[in-house]
Amino acid sequence: MAERVLACAPCHGAQGEGTRDPYFPRLAGKPSGYLYNQLIAFRNGRRRYPPMNYLLAFLPPEYLKEMADYFASLNPPLPPPSVPAVAEDALNAGRTLVTQGDATRSIPACTSCHGPNLTGMEPGIPGLLGLRPNYISAQLGAWRYGTRTALSPDCMQVVAGHLTEADVTAIAAWLSSRPAPAERRSVPQGTYALPFACGSQPQ
């Protein structure tokens, strides 16, 4: 399989570990269902990034599932945490939003869906570690503006809609500064209950 997905390597790394370019995300160890949903979304043009849309346009779903399973099965080490480029209070605000949310603004804690260790849950919820701040803020921004969407109910769109730009910067800075946890893999489906329905996660 490694040879069949060589086309992914220049941007995502041979092991799906990511590359120096901060906008190309790590794929390794993310839940297969999440990766598959993204591959289908790129293939169908729902998620827009022309080089990805082009590569996947004529690949059958069964094959994309195989690719998703393959990258989900890899477990290369996480990169060293980013050195935060924001002030101490922004970093603290980021930590609060990620671990506790802000009930007064209807913002749930990231950990309530992405897991106490932020490693995600099978099959559809991705881990949030090992990503660079630019990538995280670009994706949250895309959700806020509706250019990235997921299967309905699109909980991420609702959540991101409550975030300000300062929130996004703070969250991206704190998440990317986290060290690797002892167990990098996503937890099995049903390990914890989600606070609300999510179109990407069968419940």
Binding site: N44, R46, P50, P51, A57, F58, E62, Y63, E66
Partner: protein, 421 residues
């Protein structure tokens, strides 16, 4: 799967027929219900004509139209060809459908824009047109109004199509050539008719027309910036010296011992050709092989000699580092999954557009029944500079007996912004 699918089609057909009977009254009342064999034939022919590719929008309902078609004259939106009576073709009769295929006029007499390949479909027989009609009438009706075209002045004036038709449209069903075999004629019928291969593989002039005298001579596809190689020149995609099996494999599975399909051709194999029978792709191969002709000598490089030799040494370095592992130190490839680059016509064509784009964008051949898990080429746009791209493409085009011309860094740079969809 086919059993269930056909059952679903039959049921949908009954529903559509009932709807039609209610709306269109006398037109369909009492018309005999098409039998399963006709529907299956119609479905097959609709595949051969690749109706689905244009008449289905991304993530849209099948055959409900709405796919944007960018052209140099503005954007066209494809039409709903489901049997919905209000927004689709549910009120059309088989006569009107044939009329549209054959003459490029809709039932109200309106002229179709030639993005609809009626210049090719005019060759389709009445019986085949009727089968496609019966099949389309049997698919689920989708209520989805057609989106108005967005054409620039003066192209938004449909009367201009009259002029285009006078210049470029020749009406008439396919006439078999009695001096050729039945297989050759079947291939010619599919290539020139439903396959509408000439839409891309015949040069398109500034008026957006194909000229018959230049049939299948190749050309740059407007808006897409892919070069559709000549099917007549053995130096391009002319397959005069390929075996029938190699041609048929390429069409039907997307890969062959001689090369793989890529760019817009991947879509054709994915949506259409992989569904054809081996007999039909073989017939197309027989016809295509007969088109291959001896051709003029190769193009001469526009890059000065001294610059060329620098390009070549850089090119070899890049090749050995990034390409040789799959395509072989001598460009021999590992067919069918890693195409050979030595003696590969699509590398040596006078237009270097496709070779440059493959290096920049990479690509997967289509996943087909015959090749469901294709190997892919990595994109190098992020890793290689314009100079390196030009160097490696020049090296590939001039090594191992290849006789293509050198390319300049500016050409690579230009193609970085070529559209990917």
């Amino acid at each position: 799967m086919t059993g269930l699918r056909h059952l679903a089609l039959r049921v949908a057909g009954v529903i559509a027929a009932t709807l039609l009977a209610g709306v269109a009254g006398a037109q369909t009342n009492g018309a005999p219900k098409p039998d399963a064999a006709i529907l299956a034939k119609g479905e097959y022919l609709a595949r051969a004509g690749d109706c689905i590719a244009c008449h289905t929008a991304p993530e849209g309902r099948t055959f409900a139209g709405g796919r944007p078609m960018p052209t140099p004259f503005g954007t066209l939106f494809t039409s709903n060809i489901t049997p919905d009576p209000e927004t689709g073709i549910g009120r059309w009769t088989a006569d009107q459908f044939y009329q549209m295929m054959h003459t490029g006029r809709s039932p109200d007499g309106g002229l179709l824009y030639p993005a609809m390949p009626f210049g090719s479909y005019t060759k389709v027989t009445r019986a085949d047109s009727d089968a496609i009609y019966a099949f389309l009438m049997s698919v689920p009706a989708i209520r989805q109004p057609n989106r108005p075209h967005d054409l620039k002045f003066p192209y938004n004036n449909r009367q201009l199509i009259l002029g285009w038709r006078t210049l470029f449209f020749r009406e008439g069903e396919f006439k078999p050539d009695p001096s050729q075999s039945a297989e050759w004629n079947r291939g010619a019928y599919l290539v020139e008719g439903l396959g509408h291969c000439g839409m891309c593989h015949t040069p398109i002039n500034a008026l957006g027309g194909n000229t018959e005298s230049q049939a299948f001579q190749g050309g740059l596809i407007p808006m897409q910036n892919w070069y559709a190689p000549s099917l007549t020149s053995n130096r391009e995609a002319g397959v005069g010296d390929w075996t029938i099996e190699e041609i048929s494999d390429l069409l039907r599975t997307g890969v062959s011992k001689r090369g793989a399909v890529y760019g817009p051709m991947a879509e054709v194999t994915y949506n259409s050709l992989q569904y054809l029978t081996a007999e039909d792709t073989r017939a197309m191969a027989v016809y295509l092989k007969s088109l291959g002709q001896e051709t003029p000598p190769p193009a001469v490089s526009s890059v000065p000699g001294s610059e060329s030799s620098l390009l070549l040494s850089l090119g070899k370095t890049v090749y050995d580092q990034h390409c040789a592992a799959c395509h072989g130190a001598q460009g021999q490839g590992k067919p069918p999954h890693y195409p050979p680059l030595a003696d590969n016509q699509s590398i040596q064509m006078s237009s270097a557009v496709n070779a440059i784009r493959m290096v920049l964008n990479g690509g997967y051949p289509p996943g087909t029944a015959g090749n469901p898990r294709p190997y892919g080429m990595p994109p190098f746009a992020q890793t290689l500079s314009d100079n390196e791209v030009a160097a490696v493409v020049t090296y590939i085009r001039t090594s191992w007996g290849n006789r293509g011309a050198a390319v300049a860094a500016a050409e690579a740079n230009q193609l970085r912004s070529a559209p990917l969809d």
